[in-house]
Symmetry: C2
């Protein structure tokens, strides 16, 4: 893989090792009640994060995650050279106001719920390309602000069809940097408890090894209560492109983890890849299905939102890599490109997805 | 400048030469009636671009500009490896639907009216870093879709204060690539008429030489009818950071051209830089003041919108560089980070701006 940074038709690989230096997952009550509880850094039982309205709550949550990941990396905000951030709200309201409190050059990105893929890929490109020794990727979503934006304010008490997903209240942040920055912050990184700390002491690091940028994919689905079906074709297309570009089989990944396809979308995704000759089921996971216990929490088709894949990555997925349960995963956040306006005008809902390779490395090899 | 890609605290410079290979400016009637008429590729007198509503019109305009710039570069969409695009609408409606028609890996970006700066900088980083031999930056805005999104639908016929700017109906696109791609498409590039064609025949190229990423800057201004005042501090901050990082004076640029500060914002911008010891007035221009004839067109404080700086760059500014009237400019698109929700909730309007260095080069030197 080394030598060239362009791989195949639409993939990139990183010639430097791009290390995950810090990470944070800040979530709301429902996420804290779910099966991933122990992987989150902060849980706000009020969902308000001391904000004065839902949008403000999301901005504060995003800012908290962004600042915490930097602190856990043993760095200060001034040492982070670029911040790539986005959210679901119109004009990136949550990120713009959250980033305003941080003295970091800011680049807003939008790919609906795929935004963590885009921001992490661009942050890694910025570091690998030599434009930053350290960059951060942050995304957020909030159940209440998203319902207000895309469906109905919570007070309206509308019913939800079973195909609907539940927008995650959460913000995930990753700080990535080159080897020099890793060396610099190694002694200052916050030493957490448990198996992760032991792995770090043993010189285990997780690197962003490359990725594949997806195209907008539109199968003409118009049901905004079934976003899994809207996004599945984009996810299948980018994974197919990725496997083709890197000449790999799904079995070369310990897990291929989509963002928030939910139960219906995940099935379509596997079917579409099956038609192309790729058997993905044995390694398939979906952040939207991991984050809630649907039987106990009544979340219908699963979790969704920019925050869903971001907090699952920053918490659960990275822990499994550090601890050695997995060595290489493909992280594939998925986005449904709808706006309240486009949906009301009867437009279809195009999808987009990006694929990122994360690998466990034993330092010094 | 060569050797290192990180410059000072928040700037980057490109070690490869990143060439402008193709460019297109597609605009509406009012822009076509303005002083820059002769610099635009296409003018749609209906403002509808054959779309079925205003959002659709903007998507089609964006797609037209994106496709035209690729064609003018002598390339096909499949040869463009990454498309960085954004617009003002919630969830990047115009770009998402416009990009859906192009088979190019898509990365949505948002920086309000500064988006052309962000997309051009990221496209150039992607090429310079080796992740793409060719990438495209496109942004758009549409007077009617923006009024509907941020103020009132046109049918309402609301009055506008004199501090207000007029959202440009236009989409600007730039295709950038490395030397290999330049060599490949040189013979296929569309040969336009006039001085530009002569310059190209003589081996003149324009390169993206570097840039400075801005931070979100909030002076607490809340007047959404005076966005120049909201954005001027961000523009001054990024230009100050740029000049400091590159150890330059304003006089080392033939022009420093802000995005859409308008008459009020441009004055504040110059004042703020003056307080820091930089005299910018002799080289200062503003795309918002260039694009309309305020006396004849009654556009109050000037033009604005993602499309304003994009079409001025793709048309007028690049022509002046190719023709040799200028050798080096600093292009500083400016954005006001407001959403209809944040404005109605009484929040302030933070600003953001990015600075891009464009230079005229004689090939083979």
């Amino acid at each position: 893989m080394s030598g060239t940074k362009c791989v195949g038709a639409q993939s990139v690989c990183f010639t430097e090792e791009i290390y995950v230096l810090g990470r944070a997952a800040v979530v709301g009550k429902k996420e804290g009640d779910g099966p991933l509880r122990s992987f989150f850094d902060e849980i706000d039982e009020t969902d308000m994060f001391e904000g004065k309205n839902w949008n403000d709550a999301e901005s504060r949550m995003m800012q908290k995650a962004a600042a915490l990941a930097i602190r856990k990396a043993g760095l200060t905000p001034k040492q982070v050279r670029m911040l790539f951030a986005g959210d679901l709200l119109g004009q990136l309201l949550a990120s713009s106001f959250g980033a305003g409190e941080l003295p970091i050059p800011f680049l807003g990105v939008y790919g609906a719920c795929s935004t963590m893929g885009e921001s992490l890929l661009l942050a890694s490109m910025a570091v690998d390309g030599g434009y930053a020794d350290c960059a951060e990727a942050v995304t957020s979503s909030h159940f209440a602000s998203a319902e207000k934006e895309f469906r109905f304010p919570l007070g309206y008490g509308n019913q939800r069809p079973l195909a609907a997903t539940w927008t995650v209240t959460g913000s995930g942040a990753l700080v990535v940097g080159n080897r020099t920055t890793l060396e610099r912050c190694r002694t200052q990184r916050e030493e957490p408890a448990g198996k992760y700390a032991q792995a770090v002491r043993e010189g285990i690091e997780v690197v962003v090894a490359g990725g594949t940028v997806g195209c907008v994919t539109d199968y003409g689905v118009k049901d905004k209560a079934n976003m899994g079906a809207c996004m599945a074709p984009a996810a299948a297309a980018v994974v197919e492109a990725h496997l083709r570009d890197f000449h790999r089989e799904p079995s070369e990944y310990d897990k291929i983890i989509t963002g928030d396809l939910g139960s219906i979308g995940a099935k379509i995704f596997a079917d579409l890849l099956g038609q192309k000759g790729y058997r993905v089921e044995p390694v398939q996971e979906d952040c939207g299905l991991l984050i809630y216990d649907n039987e106990l929490q009544d979340t219908h088709s699963g979790g969704s939102g920019c925050g869903c894949s971001a907090v699952t990555l920053a918490g659960y997925l990275l822990d499994k890599l550090y601890e050695g349960e997995w060595n290489r995963i493909l992280f594939v956040p998925t986005g449904a490109l709808l706006s309240p306006v486009s949906a009301n005008e009867g437009s279809s809902i195009p999808g987009i997805a990006h694929a990122i390779v994360l690998e466990r490395r034993k330092e010094g090899r």
